[in-house]
């Protein structure tokens, strides 16, 4: 009985409430930060994991165009592997006959597709067709100029004389 009285007389437990206002503030800031950083960026690009880009002070934004990923052992056009690189040379690429290479064929096919799409779009909108196509190069920082140059030349022959070099912002 004495125990029963003690239990009956103990102070009533209050409902515990968690104050989530500060957490809400934090979440609101995070959400707005993420939304704004999302809006500032141009089209997002998935960079190939094998490509280690160099850092640069350049402030130009890239234009999302044909993407060529040059790693130390392969060349990828968008998601497709178009050539292998061995000992700093593109396998199957003869500098004197670049038009016979897979790389040239893939780039030329891509160019043709882009031109057709641009013409179609121009017809629909009644505008002049776009002609300034360029390649966005993602080159590994350890790649030699010899390798890079041989690929740039093929791209120029395939109809992409202008190009952009993708870099990481410093």
């Amino acid at each position: 009985m004495a125990l029963g009285n003690a239990l009956a007389n103990r102070p009533k437990q209050q409902d515990a409430t968690l104050n989530i206002t500060s957490m809400m503030d934090m979440f609101t800031i995070i959400v707005f930060f993420l939304l704004f950083s999302y809006a500032e960026k141009p089209d997002e690009i998935d960079v190939d994991k094998n490509v280690n880009l160099p850092e640069s002070s350049s402030q130009f934004n890239y234009v999302n165009s044909v993407k060529l990923f040059l790693s130390e052992n392969q060349v990828k056009l968008e998601d497709q592997v178009v050539a292998a690189i061995a000992n700093g040379k593109v396998v199957g690429l003869d500098p004197d006959n670049a038009k016979a290479s897979n790389l040239y064929a893939a780039l030329a096919k891509h160019k043709e597709k882009q031109v057709n799409e641009a013409n179609l779009q121009a017809q629909e909108n009644g505008e002049e067709a776009k002609t300034d196509f360029h390649v966005l190069f993602f080159c590994d920082r350890k790649l030699s100029f010899k390798t890079m140059n041989s690929i740039i030349k093929v791209a120029a022959e395939a109809g992409y004389p202008n190009f952009q070099l993708a870099v990481l912002e410093q």
């Binding site: 989530i20 206002t21 957490m23 809400m24 979440f27 609101t28 995070i30 959400v31 993420l34 939304l35 950083s37 999302y38 960026k41 997002e44 690009i45 960079v47 880009l53 160099p54 850092e55 640069s56 002070s57 350049s58 402030q59 130009f60 934004n61 890239y62 234009v63 966005l136 080159c139 590994d140 920082r141 350890k142 790649l143 030699s144 100029f145 010899k146 890079m148 140059n149 740039i152 030349k153 120029a156 004389p161 202008n162 190009f163 952009q164 070099l165 993708a166 870099v167 990481l168 912002e169």
Partner: protein, 173 residues
């Protein structure tokens, strides 16, 4: 007064607590979604093109009069052990162009002395402010990392704006 105050408090609105839990739930869904789709690689681009022959002005005017309009094209030859800077222009004499040439050797740690290169480029820019093009000619063995670093220096060193147009060109054998 005290009694009035008490009465007001009693008659006033009840403390209303907004139910934040649904908003919290929404945020908890939104944040992982935004984080997973966010990219923390801040990509930028360097615009380059093939070298273009500069237009030549008429040779009728004397050199001194034309100086502010003279455009010098700086050729930066990036070699494994040094950087050679050569000034080219059809509007200046060989002697004047030679005076603008520079040779920047690597330091004892094997690093290019970019400050010296910037100084030499700055000298050209100060003398001929209309100059805006650098032709970068790397040797075959030069790494892309060094090419980008040299291009950065040619465009801007510190706060000093140098040559906005940097063109890459292969070495002519």
């Amino acid at each position: 007064m005290a009694a009035l105050g008490q009465r007001r408090r009693k008659a006033g609105d009840l403390d209303v607590e907004i139910d934040m839990v649904p908003i919290m739930n929404m945020f908890l869904v939104l944040i992982p979604f935004l984080l997973s789709s966010a990219s923390f690689l801040n990509l930028k681009a360097i615009n380059t093109s093939v070298p273009v022959q500069a237009e030549t002005a008429s040779a009728a005017q004397p050199e001194q009069d034309k100086k502010p309009d003279i455009k010098i094209t700086a050729t930066v030859k990036l070699q494994p052990s040094m950087i050679k800077l050569e000034a080219t222009s059809s509007e200046l004499s060989e002697d004047k162009l030679k005076a603008l040439d520079a040779l920047v050797v690597k330091d004892s740690k094997g690093q290019y002395q970019y400050a010296d290169l910037a100084e030499a480029l700055g000298k050209i820019k100060q003398g001929y402010p209309k100059s805006d093009t650098v032709i970068l000619v790397p040797s075959d063995s030069i790494l892309y990392d060094d090419i980008v670093a040299t291009m950065d220096v040619a465009r801007q060193f510190g706060e000093e704006k140098l040559f906005p147009n940097v063109v890459i060109s292969g070495q002519v054998q």
